[in-house]
């Protein structure tokens, strides 16, 4: 258990940039990534879940990639965390009039992103290509990398049967208990070369406070992904998406109950340690869960206790700096151990 660094800049080695990889789902991943991006001396790569992607109105939609993209570009809707600020909904209203499906709301500005993505896919561009182009157009300096250029589609089993992720999450408002998760296409998918290279070259690898089952879980399900993370020199530090027993956003807490385990910081640690032994070196937990640090330590996972909630942009930068300082500390300790 470590106390946080108070100065975010401490994380960066003087003169050289710190290469940080964040594994991210949607809103939580985007917010932590945004905090990291604003730290001085950081070269950020965000590896984003694409298991939530969908096709609608003939458009290829990649919700988590766009949430990271919009957040890093500073154009995200600050209320929802997803979608664009200053959005209008004219096309949505007209689509409804035409009887087109409207359960997944696409704003007018957001539609432009999907149009460009879909068109570039038809030209033969990869998700990695298109994401890079969109990011460049929006002035994003960080590298946003879809976890894979091959399609993976997350499905969840409910009491009513299997549902596509977005049908469960958006159309039915994630009201159904999740009894099982499966990632269609994952056997044939691989992390991209750029993802693997970024992980191998990283100074710190952060696991965002995204859903461990259907955001981070999807990324880690890619063949070769866990091996690449285990082989990386950088420490892997996760931020707990559970604070005081509840998910910061979304249904992660209820999924612990139905998929097994407990909805707590310790539960997160047990989940990662059980499913991926040796993967997570450190876990950032909230002060509210301080009493769980010892039990987490017994799993071989070190803890940083801090305020793990990101209420505003300052929170993002503060938390990112602390997480990165923690990772740097873990790395130095590891180097000392190897030298000793």
């Amino acid at each position: 258990m470590m106390e946080p660094h108070r100065d975010p800049a401490m994380a960066a080695a003087p003169g050289a940039s710190t290469r940080v990889v964040v594994l991210a789902g949607g809103v939580g991943g985007a917010r932590l990534s945004h905090g990291v991006a604003r730290l001085p001396g950081v070269e950020l790569t965000v590896v984003v879940n694409t298991g939530d992607d969908l096709e609608l109105h003939g458009l290829a939609i990649s919700p988590d990639v766009d949430t990271v993209l919009y957040t890093l570009a500073g154009v995200a809707n600050p209320e929802t965390g997803w979608g664009l600020r200053d959005e209008t909904w004219s096309a949505h209203g007209m689509l409804a009039r035409y009887g087109a499906p409207t359960w997944f709301r696409l704003g007018d500005r957001d539609l432009a992103t999907q149009l460009v993505r879909t068109r570039r896919f038809r030209d033969g561009a990869t998700p990695t290509d298109v994401t890079g182009e969109l990011a460049q157009a929006l002035g994003v300096r960080a590298r946003i990398l879809p976890m894979s250029d091959r399609p993976v589609r997350t499905h969840v089993r409910t009491h009513g049967g299997w549902l596509e992720f977005q049908e469960w999450f958006v159309a039915r408002g994630h009201a159904d208990d999740v009894l099982e998760v499966r990632f269609d296409g994952v056997e044939d998918a691989r992390p991209t070369e750029r993802v693997l290279t970024s992980i191998a070259a990283a100074d710190a690898i952060l696991v965002a406070p995204s859903n461990p089952f259907v955001s981070i879980g999807t990324i880690l399900a890619l063949p070769g992904m866990v091996a690449a993370l285990l082989a990386a020199a950088a420490p892997v530090v996760a931020v707990s998406p559970i604070v005081a027993g509840a998910a910061l956003k979304g249904p992660a807490d209820r999924m612990f109950e139905t998929l097994g385990g407990e909805s707590s910081a310790l539960g997160v640690a047990r989940h990662y340690a059980g499913a991926f032994p040796g993967l997570v070196d450190g876990l950032v937990i909230d002060g509210a869960d301080r009493d769980q640090a010892a039990a987490i330590g017994q799993l071989g996972i070190r803890t940083l206790v801090t305020s793990a909630i990101m209420r505003d942009e300052d929170d993002r930068v503060r938390l990112a700096g602390e997480v990165l300082g923690f990772a740097t500390e873990l790395r130095r300790d590891e180097q000392r151990r190897n030298e000793g």
Copy 2:
């Protein structure tokens, strides 16, 4: 030369509906069609030019079909004549930010139409199918029929070379002189069965005050179209798009100068009589061109002199009623001749 009927209802035979086919381009065709649609006792079919269609942002766009659709649905932008009223332009701004082409402005609500059309095409639906579905969704009772279900693409030759229609018309604001017109794909295209059936069953066939070269000209270039019109029992009545030497909208007047002929009501009559002998039975001309009626008569084309300009919706209904009354008169005269 005939004087107009003052009572639009006169056009309809009592008890039975009058089947009217309008050959239409964009705004002028849509406005006349709208007037016809509002007449009592009329069953309207609009056969619409699709030579101006284009692909943009991966979307299949059919500008003239949409102008007719929106106008008949009462949702057209009253200022421009094309596009939708209460439109927003959020997607357009975002597309510009992504560096996508922005010379053809698509409003947000309009985008919904293009999304639905494009998606239905991918499902295997025809332009006729999709147009019918869109019209039904917008509550349009008239039948809007794309002239063909096969692609035709109008091109114009300028001093700078051949241009696609919309590149010339929208991107370059039809500033370039047109030296030649060609309809790519027209040899392999055909009027649809529904178009041919509607023409054969019509009581009156109206040629809208649309561009004779690149709107009506495209429709008439379809193999079998002129033969179908000549074989139809109904009289063919055209409304002059030229009033007092000038085009009511668009570049038709300048095209007369560069393509041959003269920009006048008589020039319109000569154009149709020369290119398609016997096709046009009557021409509706404006009072300003009254002195050309005799010369038009010498071409074997009867004239109706009235106010041929549609400034508002009342004008549309008035003109439509007069044109239809004129057509009915021509038909009765023809029947009398055949009986005599």
